[in-house]
């Protein structure tokens, strides 16, 4: 391979990466799931007690919903939980519309293991209410209550559906994609020419 061919190869790789980035952008465009927004808000809320990132976390949470909503679930004295994240882990369920006729207001069940003093954790179940304005979901309320008794789908760890899942067509697309990838890579190997393969050794 000459330096010129190598440069062409690098340009082709960069072009391929740009096409891939553009495709990903187009594929992701227009998606906004309330379950994911609820999860991002809870993650940011958990970080508001974490040493060194309190300000950044508060800013991140505030963009999605008022941090004050989390007062019932968060340890009020971060130093008592060694200024670690407020939640050991968290999980959200599938969203359900508050009013079947209105798609812009939903509720999302959640469960967190909130850190408490003396290395203890408390399991907290709750429901977040989210409202959509200008295509943006915002957390507007938090209730400490069992999601199932509030009429919401069970959480994934209780056997409920995942917050989102791929459409059936994706699996067909994956198989077609595998065939295409196979064809391209086989063509690349063949076009590379070169070394002959050794016979399996008679050992």
């Amino acid at each position: 391979m000459s330096n010129h061919s190598f440069a062409k190869g690098i340009v082709a790789c960069i072009a391929l990466m740009m096409v891939l980035a553009g495709t990903l952008f187009l594929l992701n465009h227009g998606h906004s799931r309330p379950e994911g927004v609820a999860e991002n808000w809870l993650t940011a809320i958990g970080d508001t007690t974490r040493k060194g990132v309190e300000a950044d976390a508060t800013k991140r949470a505030d963009k999605i919903g008022a941090p004050e909503l989390a007062v019932p679930i968060l340890e009020p004295h971060p130093e008592l939980i060694k200024r670690k994240s407020g939640f050991d882990d968290l999980e959200v369920g599938k969203a359900a519309r508050v009013d079947p006729a209105s798609p812009d207001k939903v509720r999302v069940g959640f469960r967190v293991h909130a850190r408490r003093p003396q290395d203890q954790t408390a399991e907290i179940n709750g429901v977040l209410t989210l409202e959509r304005t200008n295509d943006k979901w915002m957390v507007t309320a938090l209730d400490v209550t069992d999601p199932a008794s509030a009429g919401l789908p069970a959480l994934p760890s209780d056997g409920g559906p995942p917050p989102s899942s791929a459409p059936a067509s994706l699996w067909l697309g994956a198989l077609v994609g595998a065939v295409i990838v196979g064809a391209i890579t086989t063509a690349l190997v063949k076009s590379a020419g070169g070394a002959v393969t050794a016979e399996p050794a008679a050992v």
């Binding site: 391979m1 000459s2 190598f6 990903l24 594929l27 992701n28 998606h31 799931r33 379950e35 994911g36 927004v37 999860e39 991002n40 040493k51 060194g52 990132v53 950044d56 991140r60 200024r83 994240s85 050991d88 882990d89 968290l90 999980e91 959200v92 469960r111 293991h113 959480l155 994934p156 760890s157 209780d158 056997g159 995942p162 917050p163 989102s164 899942s165 791929a166 994706l170 699996w171 994956a174 994609g177 595998a178 065939v179 990838v181 196979g182 890579t185 086989t186 690349l188 190997v189 590379a192 020419g193 070169g194 070394a195 002959v196 393969t197 050794a198 016979e199 399996p200 050794a201 050992v203």
Partner: protein, 434 residues
């Protein structure tokens, strides 16, 4: 297919005692590659807290750090010119200095710089280590030695997990204590450095260079010459197709388990430690199996096992099934490291072996290291991703990996039981379509 005529090969017999010593020295390189990579992954929140930086800044600093593995290519390729031994020794020294300096970082940017340097030397150290194993061990023991080497790579991750469990991060030094452990390779090197020898194959090649039979300088694009290109493209593509879903799944499993399957943080830790324990066994079994049944069938078995158990892992809601699926996904998926390392080294002659391995590892495989986790994160993002589900995104990428099995089965040369010179003798025959 052209008949393979095997010329009587030179005796490269190296005494067993020295091979044991060599393996002991090299496993430390593999161990710290696994160890160092895991520190960053598992202690990132602590490091973030220490330097009081936002998520965005943290994300940006990851770019130069990971670029170190790419830059390692330029260091690794020097092993074909300067020799394996000096490069290994200097890589250990460089890695140790940068790792110790990491423990002294005063802000996130100094941290990123020291980790960048550490990755360069660590990447080179590991690549040269694999090359030395392939060149020094006889054909019948090469697979086992590679298996042992990579077992210690997984052990590095387990030790980080155990140290975390023991609370090393809660001591006065915090996360910095983990980096100080990185001084151990230098302590090992000091007493053993004089006993470490240059590989016999490199010594012979150096003699050939002195006699003018080979060029001193190995051009940057040498492995892309027509006689090597097919193997380079083939092995490189197989590495990349494996690394995209593998790194995507390993980077995101803990998040997936917690957020999509409701695992607690403790359950995630226990699962990871157990799975990597089984993963160690995977490396060993792979090393033995490739000697017994051959490289190609071993790779096919491990590829298929890795795909099946990874898909099961990312689709099942049952925690018991997930436990075994994770164990076997690591066993097969990561455990196939020895056979992949043998593809990346055995199929190229001594004068370009280091450089060819560097192309495969630091260009093709690192592409997967960078893009795999990014693809899963972008497509599987719960709020904005096109798929919106980490489990389904990883499954999608696993399905796209299937053609790699075909490439191995259809085109990969079999090198079982062949000394390196025999493989080259076969490869230098007139070209025949496969």
């Amino acid at each position: 297919m052209a008949e393979v005529v095997v010329e009587p090969t030179r005796d490269y017999h190296v005494d067993r005692k020295y091979l044991r010593l060599l393996l002991v020295l090299l496993v430390s390189a593999a161990f710290f590659e696994g160890y160092d990579g895991s520190i960053l992954a598992l202690l990132l929140p602590n490091i973030q807290s220490s330097f009081r930086v936002s998520e965005a800044v943290l994300g940006v600093t990851r770019i130069p750090i990971e670029l170190g593995l790419f830059v390692a290519f330029f260091l690794t390729r020097l092993s074909d010119r300067l020799g394996r031994r000096p490069l290994l020794l200097w890589s250990v020294v460089g890695y140790t200095i940068f790792t110790a300096a990491t423990a002294l970082s005063w802000n996130i940017w100094s941290f990123a710089f020291f980790q960048f340097g550490s990755r360069i030397f660590l990447g080179a150290e590991f690549a040269v280590g694999v090359t030395m194993i392939v060149e020094e061990f006889p054909a019948g023991r090469r697979g086992r030695a590679l298996g042992t080497l990579l077992t210690f790579n997984a052990l590095g991750t387990i030790i980080v997990g155990l140290l975390l469990g023991a609370g090393l991060q809660d001591t006065g030094l915090g996360w910095r204590a983990f980096y100080l452990v990185g001084l151990v390779p230098l302590l090992l090197l000091i007493p053993f450095r004089r006993r470490l020898r240059e590989t016999q194959r490199f010594v012979e090649m150096r003699e050939e260079r002195k006699r003018g039979e080979l060029h001193e300088e190995v051009p940057f694009l040498e492995p892309w010459k027509p006689q090597y290109r097919r193997n380079l493209v083939l092995v490189g593509l197989v590495h990349m197709m494996r690394s995209i879903p593998i790194f995507g799944s390993t980077a995101w499993w803990a998040y997936y388990a917690e957020r999509e399957r409701g695992f607690t943080a403790t359950q995630v830790s226990i699962y990871i430690i157990c799975a990597y324990g089984l993963g160690c066994l995977g490396y060993y079994v792979c090393g033995r199996l490739m000697e017994r049944i051959g490289r190609r069938p071993t790779a096919v078995i491990f590829f298929v096992g890795g795909i099946i158990f990874s898909i099961t892992l990312f689709q099942t809601a049952n925690k018991l099934i997930a436990f075994f699926a994770l164990g076997f996904a690591v066993f097969f998926g990561l455990g196939m490291g020895p056979v992949m390392s043998s593809f990346a080294t055995e199929l190229f002659p001594t004068e370009i072996r280091g450089q060819a391995a560097a192309w495969i590892r630091n260009w093709f495989e690192i592409a997967g290291y960078v893009f795999g986790p990014a693809l899963v994160g972008i497509l599987g993002d719960h709020a904005t991703g096109a798929i919106g589900n980490i489990g389904d995104t990883v499954t999608f990428l696993m399905i796209l990996q299937i053609p790699a099995v075909f490439l191995v089965w259809r085109y990969m040369p079999e090198t079982k039981g062949l000394e390196l010179e025999d493989i080259m003798a076969a490869d230098q025959l007139p070209l025949t379509p496969v």
